[in-house]
Amino acid sequence: MNTTNLFKIALKAISANKLRSFLTALGIIIGVASVIAMLAIGQGSKRSIRKQISEMGSNMIMIHPGADMRGGVRQDADEMQTLKLEDYESIRDEARYLSAISPSVNSSGQFIYGNNNTPSTIYGVNEDYLTIRQLKVEDGEFFSEQDIRTAAKVCVLGKTVVDNLFPDGGDPIGKVVRFNSIPFRVVGVLKSKGYNSMGMDQDDLALVPYTTVMKRILAVTYLQGINCSAVTEDATDQAIEDITAILRKNHNLKEGTETTEAEVNDFTIRSQEELATMMNSTMDLLTILLGSVAGISLVVGGIGIMNIMYVSVSERTKEIGLRMSVGARGIDILSQFLIEAAILSIAGGLIGVFLGIGAAYAIKMAAHMPIFIQWWSIIMSFGVCTFIGIFFGWYPAKKAANMDPIEALRYE
């Protein structure tokens, strides 16, 4: 008995009973399709939520001067003068893995326009700040490079500030508002972001060129901080390494040797790692949940194969008896049923793959849910279904192979 003949026999048996064969494969079809569709939804949601969170700035890196002790009193980091404009420039020019970088100097004060006034914070930044904080200019425009170079007295206001200064809904663009008696021309209004999860109003701010804050408001030469954006969330760690190396070099901090310890960083770098970690663990949980639901349906599909194979063996007892009487050995019968199970589960798996992909896209169309199909989910579900089909086909096949030909022939 060669393999070709066994395949012919198995194929004939399958085609002789098309409906039964289809029902057998149906379990696997549904199993594979649901695994692929579920994982596509899981991965899609993961990506979509990841995108939303990164819009909140999950790849943001914040650099602050290190807090220091002076006479036993720990100083506020903002008071430290170790972070200079040169640091910003060398990080901007040398650090890799960064997509945006902006210096940060801020000051609080009272905004005044006509009869209205409001307390707010003024942030001295550059254009990249919009990217880093995921802000958008709704009306007007952002200040230009030229404005930064000339330390121009121009500002872009947040929605809350606009609402407080222009309660009757007048257009603020082009108007001159005063901040601590310094006049600023309003060039743009930011799109509202609402409150953040800490309950802070993200629209209560004004953006001005950092040079303006440094020269005209605070009259300082140091920065309170530098904000950057890593190219991707995963590149955050490498970006931090780069920045650390650059700042240590700029600040002439000695590296550790065999005898001396390295000088401590006079700056701190923070990222939104916590947020990213939390997000990933939540999403992984979702994927595991969906995956296991789908996995269960795959196993149920396998049991379906076993069930129908089992019935099929009983139903075909006489055929098995005949095959044995004309010279089929136990191994031939076993192989025949195993090959049948394998063909059904592979065919079912293939149909399931296409059905699953189709279902995922149907869900995308109908429910507008984000989907993402990963190739490994296709390979995995297909592999598992083939294994399950053969695994559950084994027992009925073994039963068939062990039949007594006399009993089988007499079976009615």
Binding site: I9, A16, N17, V326, G327, R329, G330, D332
Partner: protein, 253 residues
Amino acid sequence: MEENIHRKTVIELQNVKRNFTVGDEVVHALRGISFKIYEGEFVTIMGTSGSGKSTLLNQLGCLDTPTSGEYILDGVSVRTMKRRERAVLRNRKIGFVFQNYNLLPKTTAVENVELPLMYNSAVSAKERRERAIQALEMVGLGDRLYHKSNQMSGGQMQRVAIARALVNNPAVLLADEATGNLDTRTSFEILVLFQQLHAMGRTIIFVTHNPEIARYSSRNIMLRDGQIREDTENHDILSAAEALAKIPVPQDD
């Protein structure tokens, strides 16, 4: 039986016994059977139900092994053979014809006939098809090669089954009540076919409870209670073809 000395022995049974244990009781289905069957004989084995003829047939067909005694088929001792070896032996040396045909459903005549050769890897696909067609032509179904089993009459199905039994060119053809499910006319048609095969030198063993069939065979073994009661040569073999001619052709109205 002097003439038999020169003929080849196909089957030899030496004091074959077969016991079954049913509950606490031991049933002696065969109580010591000995006979030889020579090449080219057409033997009917007769007996009422319970006489042990089914058990004997299973022994002869290598589906079962004796509890004691010796069975030699075409020079090979079967008694100590394993399941797997007996399957191969059946494949090469035995052709079965059953009362209820046992054709594979929804399968063409030629595929049914090919079946035994499917389990013989020495036969190529091309040779298999040729031999199946040849066997079907021999039983008079050359024009029904690709009819499916459910599109054929009982007589045609039994012819397919006989072709299937012949396709591996067996040492012995074992028929188990091969005419039991057929009407008189078709029965005789099948008997004619068996007589033709006999004339061609085939060794045939026909197990039946119908005493009439014995008159068309060359030898008759009667079983009762697991023992041979009679073993007689038939010197006056009737012609099934002549008997068939006397049966009126049924008129369709």
